[in-house]
Amino acid sequence: MHYQKKLLSFLFLGSLIIALLVITGSPSVAADKGPIKIGLLLPYTGTMPLQAKGVQDGAELYFDEIGRKAGGRPIEIVKEDTELSPTTGLTKVRRLVEQQKVQFVIGPVSSAVGLAIHDYVRAQKVIQINPTAFTRELTSPQKASQNIFRVCDTTDENAYPMGKWMYKNTNYRNIVVTGSDFAAGHHTLEAFTAAFQASGGKVIKEVYPKLGTMDFAPFLAAIDVKGADAVFGFYAGTDAVRFVQQYQEFGLKKRLPLYGHAAMVDDPYLPSIGDAAIGLITSGHYTFMIDSPKNKAFVKAYNAKYGENPSRYSEFGYVSAQVIGAAAESLKGDVDDPQKVAAEIMKVSAKIETPSGPLAFDQYHQRVINMYVLKTEKRDGKLVNAVLDKMGKVAQADVWGWWNK
């Protein structure tokens, strides 16, 4: 008797779920001039929620600015969580494409997810704007695709110019490079090393702690090697917070100036890092301190809506949305043919002014990006990344010669 009651409650629950699935299961009929559906394929859960939030917030801000309409059609946003997992990312992008029938996908953040969904997206009638997955392969000649665009800086576009800049603008000649031991870490440091050594400098040691290291003490001891005059690093997220803090805690900051990829001092993480971040010099494409009319307007609007300053990821999200909005507007809402849309994006991108500078895509649909050298400082009691120098526009083909022969 007891069991029957339990069985019944379970069956009831089960059939409720199945009913809901069947009801929501039927794909939404995309009427000819229905809304433009845009999927946000981001890691809402997992260890990169701030990146996801930044991209989403940036994109939503833009869509608000254009009144949630483009080319005469309303804009509908659908969100899917990749959970920072390649398999889940693939399942969710299939849902966006086959179930939700989106015309555009903004995402992903993780490079592994980006690679995982690449072949699938390539074969679908959808346009993907990649806001953050920065592994260099995704827009290499072998992998580049008509319907996929990327608006973030590749590891090459970021670290290679920085390598040259460091040689030209500092007296450091014997550098230790350090980064998390995964593909992004290696690619970034390799690009930096190639540039720095090509200029005549020397990278005397590489230290790669495993991803997710809690205690950097032993690695810091390894970095502190005789003859080194500076350090260039790549860490992201929680690792960056711990590394930068412990770098100061163990006294290295005084003796070995710390340079790195902008991810080490990402705005959302600066409050957590604290004063340990002051003085770091990094290479990035964006800081809310950029002094341009477009950026000032962007920062103001962002603050008004979200109560905080935009980060790199906000810029990536905003530009992704700008691209979609501009193309949709120019095509008067006729966005159902990806080939047409892709061609249109290439046409209108020159007219788009992004918070970081003018927009351009190369032939592989990778952004030709404006790079800056940033310095972390304390202004009015707050930690910010100020612009130290400009490295100018960087196209991926300029900086991949050392591996892409």
Partner: protein, 312 residues
């Protein structure tokens, strides 16, 4: 319990599975394909867990090995699909890994076994993560082509054909596993689960039986890995990670340890709910967590046994 009942139920389920692509949208057919793959994976773990009584938090080792071997052959060696070789190599390599692990771990029992298997599969994960030239590191190996079955007029690049392909292997695997657990070997395993000392006293070579069960379990998990890599078109270290091992263990427990088909049901429930709920809220983890807790409270023996019991 009437003898005919379970068979009829199974036939109905099989019929539904065969007919599914006809009335389901392509996304759900794809999802069902994924469920079938994880069902094979979960059932393979049940042979170890439910029938032999050996708990494992490292079962992803076999799934991942099968997946990676196929990927490496497909992408690095042949630059194109070679189904027979890939299938054979994938399944065999998983069996070999099981044979190697089995030599080391079977002296451990209970929690310790759980942990040494966890550590061993995480070592494999570490290798896949670090050996970037072979495995692509954390980026993984994308671009894996599905088998070319044009000689039987099957185009595995379509969702429906691929679904039937996986369904075929699912039925074969389920049948084989069923025969294994129903055989005298299976009964020996049950005996070992109940009491190893008794079985030793009865003259069985307990270590050998456990070893064979371990390898059999690993082989079927490897098969699931082969199917998974064809489904995804890529492989990444997460196929070897603790999280994957934990997920499949949860599927087995939720479905019903020692029922063989319960874990398949568990796989279906978890994948469906995860996908469904995450489309509506960011807080799907709370709902999933509550579901797990509710299952333990309402159906501590697993969901499958709820149905079995009510048939008495």
């Amino acid at each position: 319990m009437k003898k005919g009942r379970p068979v009829i139920t199974l036939l109905i389920v099989l019929a539904l599975l065969c007919a599914a692509p006809l009335f389901l949208p392509s996304y759900y057919t794809g999802l069902l394909t994924l469920i079938l793959i994880y069902a094979i994976f979960a059932m393979s773990l049940d042979i170890l867990q439910g029938y032999t009584g050996l708990a494992s938090l490292g079962h992803a080792a076999f799934l991942g090995t099968g997946a990676y071997i196929v990927a490496i052959i497909n992408v690095k060696i042949f630059h194109g699909p070679h189904f027979a070789i890939e299938l054979f190599a994938g399944v065999l390599s998983a069996g070999i890994v099981a044979a190697l692990f089995g030599l080391i771990v079977l002296r451990n029992t209970g929690t310790y076994l759980l942990m040494i298997l966890l550590a061993s599969s995480m070592m494999l994960w570490g290798i896949a993560f670090k050996w970037r030239s072979l495995t692509g590191g954390d980026d993984g190996l994308p671009g894996i082509a599905r088998p070319d079955l044009s000689f039987v007029h099957w185009n595995l690049h379509t969702t429906t054909h691929f679904y039937y392909f996986v369904l075929l292997f699912f039925v074969i695997a389920a049948l084989l596993m069923y025969l294994v657990v129903r055989s005298s070997f299976g009964h020996t395993l049950l005996g070992i689960r109940e009491s190893e000392t008794r079985m030793t006293a009865l003259g069985y070579n307990v270590w050998l039986q456990k070893y064979i069960a371990f390898i059999v379990s690993g082989i079927f998990a490897g098969l699931a890995g082969v199917m998974l890599v064809y489904y995804n078109g890529f492989v990444s270290p997460s196929e070897l990670h603790l999280v994957t091992s934990a997920e499949v263990l949860i599927m087995v427990i939720l479905g019903g340890v020692g029922t063989l088909f319960g874990p398949a049901l568990g796989a279906g429930i978890i994948i469906l709910i995860k996908n469904f709920v995450s489309g509506y809220t960011e807080h799907w983890m709370i709902i999933l967590g509550a579901l797990y807790m509710a299952t333990v409270m309402l159906a501590p023996q697993g969901v499958y046994r709820l149905f079995r019991r009510s048939q008495k």
